[in-house]
């Protein structure tokens, strides 16, 4: 079970996200995407799958910003993962979830000693 801080978009930290198992991540109230060094999706939780309307098996294993999230494939999001090894930033954003412009908050998390970068999405 996730702890109270882990369920909070602003408070959860990258170690906790990385240590969680799939069931715990799926239970979080916000979308979680874990990316490897090539920005290929390794983690895609059930919450995010519900927001986007696409099951994890269609997203995992493919370059995330090219195949699933071109709306973030710019200097505001994808470029930051490429440029900044240490990252913990919250930015307001607009996604096209199910082709409707949808205001969200994004949290970008990265640290060199953690193998995955995390992108959190709060609707």
């Amino acid at each position: 079970m996730a702890t109270l801080t882990q369920t909070q978009f602003d408070l959860v930290d990258i170690d906790e996200l990385h240590a969680m198992d799939g069931t715990d991540r799926d239970a979080l109230p916000y979308g979680v995407i874990g990316l490897d060094a090539d920005l290929v999706a390794i983690v895609y939780n059930a919450t995010e799958a519900g927001f986007a309307g696409v099951r994890p098996e269609r997203v995992i294993g493919a370059p995330f910003f090219e195949n699933s999230a071109q709306c973030m494939n710019n200097f505001m999001v994808a470029q930051r993962f490429a440029d900044e090894p240490v990252l913990d930033a919250i930015i307001p954003y607009v996604l096209t979830l199910r082709m409707r412009p949808t205001k969200v908050r994004l949290r970008l998390l990265a640290r060199p000693d953690v193998p995955l970068r995390f992108l959190l999405i709060e609707r």
Binding site: A52, A69, Q70, M76, M99, R100, P101, K103
Partner: protein, 433 residues
């Protein structure tokens, strides 16, 4: 058959739209966004400073103000409003060393209340075309005795240095007769209103690298022919001075309506005002930067913004606002030299790029344009509409790069706005009342 779409099918369709490498947007009659895909958001969100992309025309206002005009001016019930219309997003160098971002927009009107827009990133294509055009200009000037092409070499002062044999075939004039003559003795000068005279065309070739024009020419025997001309400037080994010009003349059968002047206008001018568009502004800015690096001739840049323009639109309506923009642009262009470039770079924001112009001279021009705005009267129903404008100006020599020049002029424009508007701001020692 079920009424509900199959879940797998629905998911496949979403996945397809997320991955589609072209932006797709559905708008209503006012430009309000209904549906859009991820690729469209990738490009639109960075253009919307407040993160609100709900109004497509509003989002594009900063770099493609003409989009609203194109949509509103399209009177047919349905059809193609624009096809691959190019929008220069970056005016200076591109972000992170990439090519400057250029988007191509296609807008289809499905009904009065519904439109479909596609957005494609064509930055690479545009860069490729630019390189190709440079190569073509070179090839054209190297062509020897091909019948269709007469080639003149000009000295830096514009007198004819030499001509090739097909020049004699095309015009009837012998080489010896024309050598040493000024160009306007050899070629007929422009008679059309608004056309550039020959000496201006050389100046434009010097500024842009090339200049394309066409007009009637008269042969020695008195017959006339429609002549396309390409002027190309040549720069010496030192990369500084213009060492001469090549002029290529083509005898072409004139085709109804579509002359190159019209084509050039479509590619380089703003739809509403006839001022240069952002694309043309970016190209000339880059070239002027290159020339400043090579020769030290610093151009000056003026950014001009009409004060409280939103109020004009709100009070008098968009058509009246459009008339203000048109007349202001016309009045400004009339005050500038043929070699200055006057461009519309945003909704009510204009730029004047003045080649080889000191800050002192730029200050005089800035003041002239400010006065032009303050004395302009545009027909507005009950009473004439009056406007003022704020100007920020800077010289390339102070800034060092195109981006820094834009930023410096913009900072001074902001200073002029903050100082009460209807004023011009430049380098500190040159502040104007």
């Amino acid at each position: 058959m079920t009424a509900e779409p199959d879940v797998d099918e629905h998911e496949a369709l979403l996945e397809f739209l997320y991955a589609c490498p072209v932006g797709l947007i559905e708008i209503d009659g006012n430009g309000t966004v209904g549906i859009m895909n991820a690729h469209a958001m990738k490009h639109l969100l960075p253009l919307a400073p407040d993160g609100d992309v709900g109004d497509l025309f509003g989002t594009m206002e900063g770099c493609a103000p003409e989009l609203r005009n194109l949509w509103q001016g399209f009177s047919a019930k349905r059809g193609m409003v624009c096809d691959g219309h190019r929008v220069s997003v970056d005016l200076g160098a591109g972000r992170g060393g990439r090519e400057p971002l250029v988007l191509a927009l296609t807008v289809v009107k499905l009904s009065a209340e519904r439109g479909l827009v596609t957005i494609t990133d064509v930055s690479q294509q545009v860069a490729h075309e630019r390189r190709l055009r440079q190569a073509e200009t070179w090839f054209a000037s190297l062509i020897g005795d091909v019948n269709d092409y007469a080639v003149l070499a000009l000295a830096p002062d514009g007198t004819v240095a030499s001509v090739n044999a097909s020049f004699t075939r095309q015009t009837g004039h012998l080489c010896d007769e024309v050598a040493g003559q000024p160009l306007d003795r050899v070629l007929a000068d422009a008679a059309r209103p608004g056309a550039l005279c020959l000496s201006d065309q050389l100046c434009v070739a010097e500024r842009d690298g090339w200049c394309l024009d066409e007009s009637w020419q008269v042969r020695l025997d008195g017959t006339r022919y429609w002549c396309q001309r390409l002027f190309a400037a040549q720069v010496g080994d030192d990369g500084r001075t213009v060492t001469g010009y090549s002029v290529v003349l083509r005898d072409v059968a004139r085709q109804g309506g579509g002359d190159t002047t019209e084509l050039q206008r479509l590619l380089t001018c703003d739809h509403l005002t006839g001022a240069a568009n952002r694309g043309q502004f970016r190209r000339v800015l880059e070239r002027e930067h290159g020339r400043w690096q090579a020769s030290g001739a610093s151009p000056s840049l003026l950014l001009i913004d009409i004060d409280h323009f939103k109020k004009v639109n709100d009070t008098h309506g968009h058509p009246a606002g459009d008339a203000v923009l048109r007349q202001f642009a016309d009045a400004c262009r009339a005050k500038l030299r043929a070699t200055d470039l006057f461009a519309r770079i945003g909704g009510e924001e204009f730029a004047a790029l003045l080649p080889a112009t000191s800050a002192d001279e730029a200050a005089r021009v800035a003041e002239k344009l400010r006065r032009t705005a303050a004395t302009l009267e545009v027909e507005g129903g009950h009473a004439p509409i009056r406007i003022t404008a704020s100007v920020g100006f800077a010289a390339m020599g102070e800034a060092g790069s195109t981006d820094a020049l834009m930023a410096l002029a913009d900072q001074r424009l902001y200073q002029a706005k903050r100082g009460g508007r209807d004023r011009a701001c430049g380098p500190e020692l040159l502040q104007l009342a």
